[in-house]
Amino acid sequence: MVPLNYLDAGSGSMLLQIVLGGVAAIGVTAKLTWRRFLRTLRIRRDDDET
């Protein structure tokens, strides 16, 4: 069992941390957006890991 963290970070707060990541975040943002786009077109399922 994975022990509980002290905190639930909150989805909005987690996503904001990409915005706040500055230059380092560009690649991550692009990948996240692309994956969401594919999912919208139903090319990728929600539980696809890779």
Partner: protein, 429 residues
């Protein structure tokens, strides 16, 4: 965490033990232990840590702006160093910080854990709610955040901060407005953002960039707000000679282990005490902020300045009222200074002499107390704001009668001004 025979001990879970084993050998951790930024910690037996006992526990709602900012910077500095070596903090809470006088000490060693690849900083939201928004509120709006922090142990929510803070000040659009929007947008969605971020390649450099920007932002915030009592000593009706006599009287009270200086103002008499540790309390946030700044510059490790309104002091808080304790339950003083305070409580806050003496008696400590009579300029000023008949019984005889109910007066001295008297008193057994 528990306390046993005066020792502060922490029992580790299985995962906690693994994190501790890794942490113990991390360079940043050893460095921070050595320079005192992290509380002294040793493993006394497998799975049990013993921590250094700090002289007096205090809470963020008792800290002035400068202390909250200092605690925030310590937290961010340690997080930045930890990230470089593959660790992260589980949270972002000011309750993880305590004080050695004016020096902040990170006390929650259990907050460090090994960074899991692809995960963001779980404590970011908490950092905003308990550090960043309260600091912004005072810096950008001139509103002291202590009542908010005391009102909710969770701090100020992003939605509340958005309603309270001006939009176009540094850091507000991202850490407040966007934060609230994203939170509102994602609150109703059942999407596993954590896995999404991991799959998109979220990495620790993003946390580090955020932490460094936060450090810059917090460093630039400065306190804003009015004070009623800053500069009081200059404006007060004391002559230098009276102040020196007071100082001599305080010194003659002798040595103590833990002293409380109630109504400490600029801390002159806290410094005059021969005490191992002094808790210097004042109700005016700006006055305590100034005192902290001076003590920090002096490198003081024996005087802890706190913002406490004695007519409404820190209550028991949290789950069943046992998570955060009342001021009186965190260590009993053996000497109490109560200088230039009685008239403010008795007239300004309508606390009867008997009540005030009763409370002081309950502390069980020797007492140095000052009484200002009706002819004193400050008392006249306070009385002028009241209806004439309300404080008719305010006088030295009435005060002494009340004081004798709880204490034996060992010594008294009238100051040169003729309107003020000092008493050294021992609690009646």
């Amino acid at each position: 965490m528990y306390s046993s025979d005066g020792e502060v001990l922490r029992e580790l879970s299985l995962r906690g033990q693994e994190d501790w084993d890794a942490l113990e050998s991390a360079r940043f951790f050893r460095r921070a232990l050595e320079d005192g930024r992290i509380v002294a910690t040793e493993e006394v037996e497998p799975g049990v840590l013993r921590h250094e006992r700090l002289p007096f526990v205090s809470y963020p709602y008792e800290w002035p702006f400068e202390m909250l900012r200092e605690a925030a910077l310590l937290q961010l500095e340690l997080l930045d160093e930890a990230l470089s070596e593959g660790f992260v903090l589980k949270d972002g809470s000011p309750y993880n910080v305590q004080w050695r006088g004016s020096e902040p000490v990170f006390v929650d060693v259990g907050s460090f854990e090994r960074l899991r690849e692809g995960e963001p900083w779980a404590g970011y939201r908490q950092f905003c709610a308990l550090f960043l928004y309260p600091l912004m509120l005072q810096a950008y709006r001139g509103v002291a955040p202590q009542p908010f922090l005391r009102g909710s142990l969770e701090g100020i929510e992003p939605s509340q901060a958005r309603a309270l803070l001006p939009r176009f000040r540094r850091g507000v659009l991202t850490h407040v407005v966007l934060h609230d929007r994203l939170e509102a947008k994602h609150a109703a969605r059942e999407r596993d953002v954590r896995s999404e971020l991991k799959a998109a390649g979220f990495k620790k450099e993003l946390i580090q960039a955020n932490v460094r920007r936060l450090r810059k932002l917090v460093q630039r915030l400065s306190p804003n707000g009015r004070s009623e009592w800053a500069g009081y000593r200059e404006a007060a009706p004391y002559t230098d000679e009276d102040a020196e006599r007071k100082e001599r009287f305080v010194r003659a009270a002798g040595a103590s282990r833990l002293a409380w200086d109630l109504g400490a103002n600029d801390g002159r008499f806290s410094r005059a005490l021969e005490a191992e540790y002094v808790v210097a309390v004042d109700g005016d946030e700006r006055v305590v902020g100034e005192l902290y700044r001076a003590l920090r510059a002096e490198g003081s490790k024996t005087i802890l300045p706190l913002v406490v309104d004695l007519a409404d002091s820190s209550p028991a808080r949290g789950w069943r009222g046992v998570e955060r304790r009342r001021l009186e339950e965190r260590g009993r003083p053996d000497l109490v200074l109560c200088l230039a305070l009685v008239h403010h409580l008795a007239i300004g806050r309508n606390v009867p002499f008997a009540e005030l003496v009763g409370w002081l008696r309950s502390l069980g400590a020797r007492l140095v107390i000052e009484f200002a009579d009706r002819d004193d300029p400050m008392v006249r000023r306070l009385l002028a704001a009241k209806r004439a008949e309300v404080h008719e019984s305010y006088g030295r005889d009435e005060f002494e009668r009340a004081l004798r109910e709880g204490f034996q007066i060992a010594r008294s001295e009238e100051l040169g001004s003729g309107t003020r008297t000092l008493y050294l008193a021992n609690p009646r057994l």
